[in-house]
Symmetry: C2
Subunit: 329 residues, 2 copies
């Protein structure tokens, strides 16, 4: 099995590539080779028993055609401009989140046509709960309308429509996974408006101050990076015929408030850790994340075997196991 991962140097991408290297297979199908690409070349994951090529590639038209020419069996398309940046830079957001995505899909279509329809890869698209926008009910079910209120959300929703249409046409066998807010993110903050959900846990656990721009009552829908990688791998092995024509799935997650996060932090790091959280209201980032829904009934995905954490203590434990040690090392 040949694998292609775009956005492989991003936080989820790195963890996905590390997991692919460690497993050497997806659901018992051995990986023969993989290409891990991003704007900057990803670091080669340790211990891969297959040929792993790590490349710096901008998804221009020629690059997309070249990437697909080797006919990867599974494509993980993670490359994206994050929410805050897509809001601040209209052109860049559409260029990457829409145009580059469409170029990749078109490259697969050309290759599929060249093969007389024999080539039809599995395509996993990383979407987001940012496709939803207020007003919504307290709990959002699988039939609720998509109404993004950020350009990032609009771009993800457009790509979801393309995933469904290209899949219906038989170009690829695709699925769009609406990832919850992923916490606790390791390493330095990115430009996502949701960054503080991670930093208020990560920084205090390393003895550093963190800024909280939002009220403690803010509710959000979250899962760990480990769970997010689990979603992607589960989707790569799943029988997608069970999805029917609707190829977007809201992933399961945990509904938590910022206050519940802080109490979980207190149980792990004590009052000293909590005292490192400095409250400093920031309207612009709060406006973005406050428009995201806080609770879903992710029934379709759960019935298909997708699973996430059930407490914030568990999410902190995953962070401590997967990332905290390496961060101080």
């Amino acid at each position: 099995m040949r694998i292609l991962v775009t956005g492989a140097a991003g936080m989820i991408g790195r963890k996905l590539c590390a997991r692919l290297a460690a497993d050497g297979a997806i659901a018992d199908r051995p990986i023969a080779s993989a290409r891990f690409v991003d704007l900057a070349a990803p670091a080669p994951p340790a211990g891969a028993r297959f040929a792993a090529t790590c490349e710096a590639i901008d998804l221009a038209a020629e690059a997309a055609a070249e990437l697909v020419a080797v006919r990867p069996d599974v494509v993980f398309h993670l490359a994206a401009v994050v929410s805050g940046e897509a809001e601040n830079n209209f052109d860049k957001g559409y260029a990457v989140n829409l145009d580059a995505t469409r170029r990749l899909f078109e490259a697969i279509r050309r290759e599929s046509e060249r093969s007389g329809g024999a080539y039809r890869p599995r395509l996993i698209y990383a979407s987001s709960i940012a496709v939803f926008g207020a007003p919504f009910p307290e709990t959002i079910d699988d039939d609720f309308l998509v109404a993004p209120q950020t350009s990032y959300g609009a771009q993800k929703a457009i790509a979801e429509l393309l995933v469904a249409d290209y899949s219906r046409r038989g170009v690829f066998d695709g699925v769009a996974l609406r990832l919850p807010t992923v916490v606790v993110r390791p390493g330095p903050a990115n430009r996502a408006a949701s960054g503080f959900f991670s930093s208020i846990i990560r920084e205090p656990l390393s003895g550093r101050e963190a800024i909280l721009p939002a009220p403690e009552t803010l509710r959000f829908w979250c899962a760990s990076p480990r769970a997010a990688v689990g979603f992607l791998l589960h989707a790569a092995a799943l029988d997608l015929d069970r999805l029917g024509p609707r190829r977007s799935l809201t992933m399961p997650g945990l509904s938590a408030t910022v206050g519940e996060q802080i109490e979980a932090l207190r149980r792990v790091g004590g009052d000293a850790a909590v005292r490192l959280i400095r409250r400093q209201s920031d309207e612009s980032s709060v406006r973005i994340v406050a428009g995201w829904p806080g609770r879903f009934d992710a029934r379709r995905a759960q019935a298909l075997g997708f699973a996430a954490e059930s407490s914030f203590d568990e999410i902190i434990r995953v962070y401590l196991e997967d990332d905290h040690v390496s961060a101080v090392a």
Copy 2:
């Protein structure tokens, strides 16, 4: 007030332009000039008291910029490849229904930026109930998810997301109207899969045979061309702030079955007219229209004053008043 209409030579476009010419104003704001454009030059509407320019224009990038350079106050964007053709020609459907739409929106954005944000036109986008796809409840409300099952529906749904995002950004003040199936269409059939809904009324009323490819139990959501033009004009004059961030509106219509159409035809044209309907099953067109929903609760649009017919007899009467005489003249 300056007006721009794309797709002005299409069925709805022609009727919209004729109505603009007859009215000379939109909600008491007089029209100073109008540009009516399509791939082939539209026929000039009769009796316009304003400067009406009818042009053959392909919405390439330069053309879009030139059209918008005069800063039209209201843009009716009707230009589209219809459902059957978009399904048969993947590239053409995306090129027109997505790319040309986006070029027009981008041209408005450039002009808006050039004006320092002062230029912000009203934009009316003709969307379609083809953005919905089965399975759905018997009646679809305003919160139900968009899940198209044709490329045409996917392209319309993508454009709706763009209308909302560009409106949220303040580029234009836009609204996407999901038009019901428009019946009774005058003139020769187009390539829309829904064409038979019109021809089984229109042709028998002119003494000609018509083919019915679908069962009489098929339920659809419809309105007359006159009602459709009414929607567009109502949207041009409406206070769109009342819409909030959700800029797509399912238009009101009539829920009717093919059997109910036929009974209405019998009341107007007698058994002789009904005998001219020849049943001939056609899987490919039935598959497209059978995936469209047959009943909506279009509450938001109704609350905003949009209105359609309430019986199929009324729809036939509108056809006889607006189009039948001119067809035999």
